[in-house]
Amino acid sequence: MRDKMKGSLVCSFESMFLIIVIVAVWYIAAETGSVSRILLPSPLTIGSTFMKKFGDGSLLTEIGISVGRVLKGYFFAVAGGICCGVIIGLSESIYRMTKILIQILKPIPPIAWIPLVILWMGIGESSKVFLIFLGGFFVVLLNVIDGIRYIDPKLLEVADAVETPKVKYILGLIIPAAMPSIFTGLRVALGTSWSCVVAAELVAASSGIGYMISNARNFGQMDVVIIGMITIGIVGKVMDEILKLLEKKVLAWNL
């Protein structure tokens, strides 16, 4: 068990091996000229561009802007998803009423919402935050609903038998019992929210990591595009690790 905990944070040789091989092949392919530098810049070029972007702080600024947007949208997605999820999960009639609607809305990717959202909210901050919200909301919602509906009825009976007051019932039993499922939702939703910010910024933005990529494309700077892509991956991984740490704290009883 300790090995499992360690494994996720410490970069072991096994986990780095494949990455090293890929970069090596890429390096050889680029440096020997077997692949055009316009199509795929060499890792060296990317390294030096990265140092430049990192050094003048522009990369961090763009990351900061994108992360800020994600946190806003994610906050609304989590708050809304948990509140609605608890209400729907606890009431059989509301569950039946909303079931089909949720099942139809859920598979619509946030990107498909972009035309409507821009029409309604313009290309300002609120439209991006709303898209991120959409990306996370349904994932949180469905996990909260499932988490509550699959609570062991035997535990519910313990509370029912002594006429537990509603607030205590929800905070002391429903939420903690659904917590493992809720956390799965939180982690998946953070991932989808993060990919939504990039999609939103690719379409309409003048800042952020997605903008950095689409702007670099216009100038044919594939090195910057690749740096943007790798950055998105790393930031996503770091955010997931932070949530995992939180999960370990909150769900200590479940491990």
């Binding site: 038998a161 006429e163 205590k168 002391g172």
Partner: protein
């Protein structure tokens, strides 16, 4: 709950009275499953009654109906002149599985079923009841840190903390090893002496029933009907290996033996 007019003096004096109790489970595209058929018996205040029967015979269902956990039945369950239709704080229930919340400590698990406003009184009650089941000092332990026997003690403590007049126990020691079971049976008698509550225990272990009960109700298999009600005239502290004890045990065992032979 409605108060019932008494039929006659004798029945009125009885604390718990079960009259013509029936229970059916509705099934899709099949005949309804009759699990209890015309059950009648009475229990006096302070009595310890054990209900024995084969597995799946409906004995746990009987306990659930009597405690109000399952209000869907025909006939009457009357406790203290009131028709039982729902659960009540005056009736404690010890579940077959411990059913402790894994996210709470022992103290919070017991506290969850209490609605006391006064935190000091609440803590005192919890500590009293933990002492009664021999788990003083385990207030801050989590369920996963407890052995099966300890978890079952907490289960009993939780049922006792609201000082119930009746304690329902649904095969409380069924999942424990033999030594722990004997130990807990002994302790249950001590608890009974202190609490003076009426106790109803369901079990498939005949020896357990003879060891604990003032009376043993023997149930037939599905649909459950009462085969016999055996009065146990033994001293308070019982010797399992004594001649009389074994004789009573054998007499009850016969009900199940003959049943098996018929099936073969």
């Amino acid at each position: 709950m409605e108060s019932l007019e008494s039929r006659d003096m004798e029945q009125q004096n009885k604390y718990i009275s079960v009259r013509d109790l029936r229970k059916k489970y509705k099934r899709k595209r099949q005949k309804d499953l009759q699990v209890l058929d015309s059950i009648n018996f009475e229990i006096s205040r302070g009595e310890f009654v054990c209900i024995v029967g084969g597995s799946g015979c409906g004995k746990s269902t009987l306990l659930r109906l009597m405690s109000g956990l399952d209000p869907d039945y025909e006939g009457q369950v009357i406790i203290d002149h009131e028709l039982v239709k729902k659960t009540d704080k005056r009736r404690g229930f010890v579940y077959q599985e411990h059913r402790l919340f894994p996210w709470f400590t022992v103290e919070k698990n017991i506290g969850f079923v209490m609605n006391d406003k006064d935190q000091e009184a609440k803590r005192r009650k919890i500590s009293e009841v933990l002492e009664l089941v021999g788990l003083k000092g385990f207030e801050n332990a989590y369920p996963r840190e407890l052995s099966g026997g300890m978890a079952q003690r907490v289960n009993i403590a939780r049922a006792l903390v609201n000082e119930p007049e009746i304690l329902f126990l649904d095969e409380p020691f069924g999942a424990l090893d033999a030594l722990t079971r004997i130990q807990l049976q002994k302790e249950l008698l001590t608890i009974r002496k202190k609490q003076k509550s009426t106790m109803l225990l369901v079990t498939h272990d005949i020896e357990e029933a003879v060891y604990l009960a003032d009376r043993v109700i023997v149930l037939a298999n599905r649909p459950a009907k009462i085969l016999d009600i055996v009065e146990i005239h033994l001293p308070e502290i019982r010797d399992r290996s004594s001649e009389v004890f074994q004789k009573i045990r054998r007499n009850i065992y016969k009900y199940f033996e003959s049943k098996d032979e018929k099936e073969e």
